[in-house]
């Protein structure tokens, strides 16, 4: 599904990312962990072609992301609040993203129905602009919008941060469901090792821009990761 070859990103003299090879199979949910400055967001920005790579390339289902825009058809993402259009209401935002992904208004409301538990009555029908929602509720909108239009690849940066515990649990269930039932490939980053091991079946550890661990999740994984980050 996703192939990365000889990828580097250099700012002035500092190499912030250097990945020789990384292949991700379709239907995988991949967790990205690493301390601040490890290059997680840089990698996501590169995959979304928001910054140009210094060398190497990324192929998202046969499409080289900085050569063609076709990957946008099947890729959903939420990196940070700058992915929200703050002067729209949540409904309008969903409709906007939905329309870009070929959904009708009816499709959009059908799509949103199963998420009413996550929205907890605080998002839809409130007649508020996104800029007036709390940080956590803004995040919910962004994440759910990234799942619209049956994407084959979804990229979420720190999806659990800022969310309340019950939403975290519900969201984990939703993400697992999507990867298992829709064969969707999921890329998430998180500082919460517990969440990552819960959701992801493969975890990679970045350190100073380099890939230093690549683990298939098992019952040992959480311990292994905790050990890695304490030593």
């Amino acid at each position: 599904m996703l192939q990365i070859n000889n990828l580097t990103k250099v700012y002035q003299d500092a190499t912030v990312l250097k990945i020789d090879e990384l292949n991700i199979k379709a239907g995988t949910s991949l967790g990205l962990v690493g301390n601040n400055g490890a290059g997680k967001t840089t990698l996501f920005n590169l995959i979304l072609d928001l910054i140009p790579p210094t060398t190497g390339h990324i192929i998202n289902q046969d499409i080289q992301v900085n050569k063609s825009e076709q990957w946008k058809n099947f890729t959903g993402s939420f990196i940070d609040e700058s992915f929200l259009i703050e002067y729209l209401t949540p409904e309008e935002y969903f409709c906007f993203v939905g329309e870009l992904r070929g959904m009708t208004r009816v499709n959009v409301s059908e799509f949103l129905k199963p998420f009413s538990e996550i929205f907890n009555g605080e998002i839809l029908g409130k007649k508020k602009y996104l800029r007036d929602l709390s940080k956590g509720n803004q995040k919910k909108v962004g994440i759910i919008a990234a799942l619209m239009g049956e994407p084959k690849m979804v990229i979420l940066d720190e999806p659990f941060a800022n969310l309340d515990p019950s939403t975290q649990i519900k969201l984990k269930k939703v993400l697992k469901g999507y990867t298992q039932n829709n064969n969707m490939t999921l890329l998430i980053s998180s500082h919460d090792l517990g969440h990552v091991t819960d959701v992801c079946d493969r975890i990679i550890v970045l350190e100073k821009g380099e890939l230093i661990k690549d683990i298939l999740t098992s019952s040992e994984t959480l311990n292994e990761l905790e050990h890695h980050f304490t030593s």
Binding site: D49, L50, I51, K72, L84, E86, Y87, C95, F96, K127
Partner: protein
């Protein structure tokens, strides 16, 4: 303590991104300030003598006092429109060991150094010196000076009180406007002669320094009221919580005929209507329409300087297009990353902008048709200007937009806001405005007025026909600068 706060202020000013980026604009503002200072000093020195020469049988001092009514009215109006309470980012101080009263006092103290309070002094001091030279009693002159100084501060504080009380309401300007208009009306239609009433009051008040107690009491009162309302506002709930307005969402079904461009056109319309800065481009539209009245009623332009009329035509039919278009795609800067990872083609995005601009030009043309009153040739001129704006200028604006790298902060006010303005905006105004004048001038000079108009119209039509091809080339430019734009838009300030 105060020195500490002032130090912070200093750092905030010099370390702000705006200062480091646009020194050119700061210099421009500096020159403007200097210009006003010179005018005020000039009036202070020369005003007395000019009045004496024009009206030799009256006392200039009395005339100027009689004039104070207008001075106060203008002061209130200008302050209300332009002067805003200097808000320091007080949030971090709330939990520090600083008394709230101290912060409030400091803010008030700081507000007195506003340019609106300083400028009058540049008039008052030379004027008072002239009065002394001309043999007016020193006690009267000093009383007058003190009176004026206190009045200035009273006006300043009352303006802030007014601002605090009205700012969260819609149409907050209406009460002030009505009160001012009523006073002006009563005065100008001779119902109440505020001019001489106030003049008389001033001459009484300055007659003896004892009477200065009156403005002093008013000043203390206004300070006290303002201080209290400020102090009360210094909690997280009041001062910093944004007011949440209920949204009035409409589906804008009519845009659906634009097919796959519809989502973008809807987005742009919402952008314009729901955010302060783009919304005010709508008001500029009104000002733009008034332009015609200035030029078309003036024979200098109507007879001798006809090429200037082209400028007016382009301006009237294109003012919204220019004001909106010059900041494409910076309007969308705040969420540009998101747009760039969404499932659409750049082509669609830009074409939607182009359609919106076209619509605005056509609407502007229709609204400008009453100008036919000044002659049919004006209507034809507007028609040609409309075609030229649609066919040529819209593409020129889009092209220059690809140089935009500063995002627009949507919720900031528009007047005197240069944020997002860079070399691209200044440069683009040359081809936008000068080129059509030149293109008109050549056939006009050698053939006729109509030939000039026809040239513009034909160029416009050619542009419309070639629209698709040129747009493709522009899309390429946008694609090429995509990364630079994303990087630029994610910078703060």
């Amino acid at each position: 303590m105060n020195t500490n706060l002032i130090g912070l202020e200093w750092k905030q000013f010099f370390r702000s991104a705006a200062w480091q980026k646009s020194i050119g604009i700061k210099i421009l503002m500096g020159f403007l300030a200097l210009y006003f200072i010179l005018i005020f000093v000039g009036l202070g020195v020369g005003g007395f003598y000019i009045l004496k020469e024009q009206l030799p049988d009256q006392d200039p001092f009395v005339i100027i006092n009689n004039f104070m009514f207008y001075w106060i009215i203008a002061n209130i109006a200008i302050r209300f429109a332009l002067q805003k309470l200097p808000v320091m980012n007080a949030k971090p101080f709330l939990i520090l060991d600083i008394k709230k009263t101290k912060i409030a006092h400091y803010l008030l103290l700081r507000s007195t150094t506003s340019i609106f309070n300083i400028l009058p002094i540049f008039f008052m001091i030379p004027y008072c010196v002239v009065l002394l030279i001309e043999g007016y009693q020193a006690s009267v002159v000093i009383s007058w000076f003190m009176f004026m100084l206190m009045t200035t501060l009273i006006l300043s504080f009352s303006n802030f009180i007014n601002e605090i009380k009205t700012s969260d309401k819609d149409l907050s300007f209406l009460p002030t406007l009505i009160v001012l208009a009523t006073f002006m009306g009563l005065n100008n239609f001779g119902i109440v002669d505020f001019n001489s009433l106030l003049g008389y009051a001033i001459s009484v008040l300055t007659g003896s320094s004892i009477y200065l107690i009156v403005p002093l009491i008013l000043l203390s009162l206004s300070y006290y009221i303002l201080f209290n309302s400020l102090k009360g506002k210094m909690t997280l709930d009041d001062a910093f919580k944004k007011e949440v307005k209920e949204v009035n969402a409409s589906e804008m079904k009519w845009t659906s005929k634009f097919g796959d461009l519809a989502p973008f056109i809807q987005l742009d319309l919402k952008l314009i209507w729901r955010n302060k800065r783009p919304k005010s481009t709508l008001f500029i539209l009104v000002i733009g329409f008034a332009y015609g009245l200035i030029f078309y009623t003036n024979d200098t332009y109507m007879v001798d300087m006809k090429p200037m009329l082209v400028f007016v035509g382009i301006f009237i039919t294109g003012i919204f297009m220019i004001n909106f278009g010059q900041f494409i795609p910076a309007w969308d800067g705040a969420y540009y990353k998101m747009l760039m990872s969404q499932n659409f083609k750049y082509h669609q995005y830009l074409e939607a902008k182009l359609r919106l601009m076209t619509m605005s030009v056509v609407i502007s043309f229709i609204l400008s048709t009453p100008y036919v009153y000044f002659g049919w040739h004006i209507l034809w001129l507007h028609l040609a200007a409309m075609l030229y704006n649609i066919g040529v200028n819209s593409l020129v604006i889009l092209f220059f937009g690809s140089f935009n790298k500063k995002k627009i902060e949507l919720d900031k006010k528009a007047a005197f806001n240069y944020q997002g303005t860079g070399a691209a905006q200044w440069l683009s105004s040359i081809p936008l405005m000068l080129a059509p004048i030149l293109l008109f001038y050549i056939p006009y000079k050698f053939i006729s007025f109509n030939a000039g108009i026809l040239t513009l119209a034909i160029l416009g039509i050619i542009g419309i026909v070639l629209n698709k091809i040129i747009l493709k080339a522009i899309v390429k430019r946008y694609k090429a600068s995509k990364y630079k734009m994303i990087a630029g838009f994610s910078q703060i300030g």
